[in-house]
């Protein structure tokens, strides 16, 4: 009952005409910057932050939150249409989403991404409203041992992101882990693999790497095969889902939502792991795992739902504990403090209309985004009918300017060219870049926690086996390894399914 009263208070705040307007503004700006490759919510929120000082705190937060999840929607658009992932979570969307676009099913992919995100957003909002406080406790159970085991599980699992050779996939993960080591070591502050280049002291930029391996490499290889693009554009289907597609993707959306809602709460790796994990779940559950990576709609539906759910539940640690789990939310915490609101456990009691207003506005924002994006899909898909010789210079222009704006630094642009060359070599050798990206993102976190764990236990590796949660992840990892090492088991089982 109290929940209903709280939600009523929230909606009362969220649907005031002024707040609706800010919500819409935020969602619009977010979609725009999400669609522009390279420009993420971080820079945009930073630039818009001073303009929100003048607004009432609830409106400011509603607008900033709108930018954040608007960018998630927009980000999937570029991943699907032009194979340029803006952030780690949309790398997975590229795998099947872009393949769908190449098959002329770009509209369908965008629709399922939008609908999946909406369903996930609705669910995550309820989760946030009901379980915010108990869920927040989950994050505290994660010490160094738990993080290491969870990441190990994620890394081993990410082998399924690749459809080719197993050894190559494992090698790509390790290569990604190594690339993640470039820069300043968190534990000791020492510089590694920087070759004396000061710009590398902060590590290889994620945007540079992802854009090089996916976007630039894709352009180069498309130019090698001239006809590929122009044949495809001839048969772009509509964007509504067929009954079969709905039946296929509905369970994927639900699974993705669950995975995302849970993992989103973990600070740091959670949101990134969510879309990768959702993809892994889909491929493992599927009776035809070989169709993944070739335009399977479930490969879009699951991860897209997961990343939106995670974006939403990542507010849990911020709103209930005041701990921002990622950079975007750190800026929101800054915005709250500027308004004299100390983010933390007291927000719920001292500022109920703010807490519930922001939660309610998330639902409203998601509704707006879906209404906004469905009609836009037609426009986006039409972009693909632009002759490729005119389209790819435009992609390059937006990528380059976006890259510059990340740090106001031209070094990142040059770096992307090198990553493009690297991506091209990998592409020619049939090495798939997605596992590399996951290794790259998780590498530094995994090392940091491994070293902390060993340091705190004074060198006793038992901590990884004696803590129950950590043991659970290790057992899951072992199970996964056995399943992979004995492919016969799976074959037999899939035959059993068919009978």
């Amino acid at each position: 009952m109290e929940l209903l009263a709280n939600l009523a208070l929230g909606f009362e705040t969220a649907v005031s005409p002024m707040n609706l307007l800010y919500c819409l503004t935020g969602a619009l700006i977010g979609t725009l910057i999400g669609v522009l490759p390279g420009i993420g919510p971080v820079q945009t929120i930073a630039i818009l932050l001073p303009t929100t000082f003048a607004l009432p705190p609830v409106s400011a937060l509603i607008m900033l939150a709108g930018i954040y999840y608007g960018a998630q929607y927009g980000g999937s658009t570029t991943s699907i249409l032009v194979n340029v992932p803006g952030e780690a979570s949309s790398v997975v969307t590229c795998l099947d989403g872009h393949q769908m676009a190449r098959q002329g099913r770009g509209g369908t992919a965008l629709t399922i991404a939008a609908l999946g995100s909406f369903v996930a957003g609705c669910f995550a909002t309820v989760v946030l409203a009901l379980l915010a406080v108990p869920l927040a406790e989950l994050a505290f159970r994660f010490g160094p041992a738990e993080y290491v085991s969870l990441m190990l599980f994620g890394l081993v699992g990410s082998v399924v992101l690749a459809s080719g050779s197993l050894i190559k996939a494992v090698g790509m993960i390790v290569l990604g882990l190594l690339l993640g080591m470039i820069g300043t070591d968190v534990t000791s502050g020492a510089h590694r693999f920087t070759f004396g280049i000061p710009e590398l002291a902060d590590g290889l930029g994620f945007v540079s790497l992802a854009m090089g391996l996916f976007g630039i490499c894709d352009i180069i290889s498309s130019l090698e095969t001239r006809e590929a693009r122009d044949i495809l554009k001839a048969r772009i289907s509509g964007f509504w889902l067929s009954r079969k597609e709905i039946r296929d993707s509905a369970p994927a959306v639900l699974r993705g939502t669950l995975v995302g809602s849970l993992l989103g709460i973990l600070p740091g790796g959670g949101a990134i792991l969510s879309s990768f994990t959702a993809y892994m779940v889909e491929k493992k559950c599927s009776r035809e795992p070989e169709t993944f990576g070739k335009g399977n709609i479930r490969g879009v539906a699951g991860p897209e739902s997961a990343n939106n759910a995670a974006a939403q539940t990542s507010f849990v640690p911020l709103l209930t504990l005041g701990i921002p789990p990622n950079v975007v939310l750190a800026m929101m915490a800054g915005a709250m403090m500027i308004h004299g609101i100390q983010p933390g456990p007291r927000v719920i009691t001292s500022n109920p209309s703010l807490f519930w207003g922001v939660i309610a506005s998330m639902w409203v924002g998601n509704l707006m985004l879906v209404l906004l994006n469905l009609p836009l899909i037609g426009v986006w898909v039409r972009l693909l009918s632009i002759p490729y010789r005119l389209l790819y210079p435009a992609i390059l222009v937006f990528c380059c300017i976006g890259l510059y704006s990340v740090n106001n630094n031209t070094f990142d642009i040059a770096l992307t060219a090198f990553c493009g060359l690297f991506g091209y070599v990998l592409h020619k050798l049939d090495c798939e870049p997605a596992p590399l990206i996951l290794g790259f993102v998780l590498g530094p976190m995994m090392e940091e926690n491994l070293r902390r764990g060993m340091l705190l236990s004074r060198g006793d590796p038992a901590i990884f086996f004696t803590r129950p949660l950590s043991l659970l992840f290790l057992a899951l990892t072992a199970g996964l390894l056995i399943a992979m090492a004995l492919p016969g088991i799976r074959k037999r089982r899939s035959r059993a399914f068919e009978q």
């Binding site: 510089h191 002291a201 750190a330 940091e448 340091l455």
Partner: protein, 320 residues
């Protein structure tokens, strides 16, 4: 004739170049405040608050330029090469001006010769804290506990080579004990680990820890000369007068910026920082607004060098 034209041109050019020099206090806009960190961080927010006020005070466009990279060193080096006419300012902190010169063998700037101090924006206190579940209640109990449990005596700081990292060493040295340092990737993860009882001791800026007191984190002491909060005693009060330290954000300008220009900017910045609404917001961030003169800023830089450099040297910490 040709010569005459030449002279006319030369005079004209000299005149044009000389004109601004004759009235050095006029600052050629737009003024940019360089923040050597990504947008949205603590120093960025403060810079934007001040930029907003300076705009009206100086009648110039004031923009904030984020030049992030290498823990702030890229932006600092970039600021060094900017025109020294008051149109370029830089936000700095102890990591860049006190720690970096000691721990980096190749540093592309010298805080003392490449920059002149303009004004200290704000200071913030350090504190030591333990999880709420911990039996430790004050600094003395903390030191006893460290002595009895050398195998668990770990403290976390928000970053390797940050002032809190060395502040932890300062505590250990003053008490004659040893603690193992574990650096986290920022205050957020450190606080999470403290609340979850994953690490027994945390050393950080007070504002990063204060939000949870006393339900989740117990702050044992703050490190300023006076109490930051009425119910938390300082180290001095608990018998450790040598444990003292504050962090700060300050604004500096390239070294050759003329003195009158520095004075003018300093006054304008001090006024901006002390404006009630800005001061209120800085307090909201958990730190204390200052707005000092260039001389006071120089004195603070000097004092902090004397305080920290021996500790940093003794720790043997090297970044490269």
């Amino acid at each position: 004739m040709r010569r005459l034209i030449g002279w006319v041109l030369v005079t004209a050019i000299v005149g044009l170049v000389g004109l601004p020099a004759s009235d050095a206090q006029e600052i050629k806009g737009p003024i940019k405040i360089i923040v050597p960190y990504p947008a949205g961080g603590g120093s960025d927010v403060v810079a934007r608050l001040i930029a907003d006020k300076l705009k009206d005070a100086l009648g110039q466009t004031v923009i904030v330029e984020n030049k992030a990279g290498a823990g702030g060193r890229i932006g600092t080096e970039y600021a060094k090469g900017q025109p020294a006419d008051g149109s370029a300012l830089l936000v700095v902190n102890p990591a860049l001006f006190v720690v970096a010169p000691v721990v980096f063998s190749k540093l592309n700037y010298d805080p003392e010769t490449d920059f002149v101090p303009v004004s200290v924006i704000q200071t913030y206190q350090f504190c030591v804290s333990v999880p709420a579940a911990s039996p430790i209640r004050n600094v003395k109990e903390l030191i006893d506990w460290v002595r009895k449990n050398p195998n668990q005596a770990n403290y976390g700081s928000p970053a390797a080579g940050s002032l809190p990292h060395f502040f932890g060493l300062m505590i250990a040295k003053a008490a004659g004990v040893e603690m193992v340092h574990s650096s986290y990737n920022g205050s957020g993860p450190l606080v999470t680990a403290l609340i979850g009882n994953q690490i027994p001791i945390g050393v950080d800026a007070y504002d990063a820890q204060s939000a949870y007191h006393p339900e989740k984190i117990r702050i044992l002491a703050t490190a300023g000369a006076a109490r930051k909060r009425d119910d938390i005693p300082t180290f001095k009060e608990q018998g450790f007068p040598e444990i003292e330290g504050v962090g700060w954000n300050a604004i500096v300008a390239p070294a050759k910026t003329p003195k009158p220009v520095v004075e003018k900017l300093s006054q304008a910045i001090a006024k901006a920082v002390q404006a009630p609404d800005v001061a209120e917001k800085i307090r909201g961030l958990g730190s204390d607004p200052v707005g000092s003169s260039p001389e006071e800023a120089a004195a603070l830089f000097k004092k902090d060098r004397e305080r920290w450099v021996p500790i940093i040297r003794a720790s043997g910490f090297k970044a490269e």
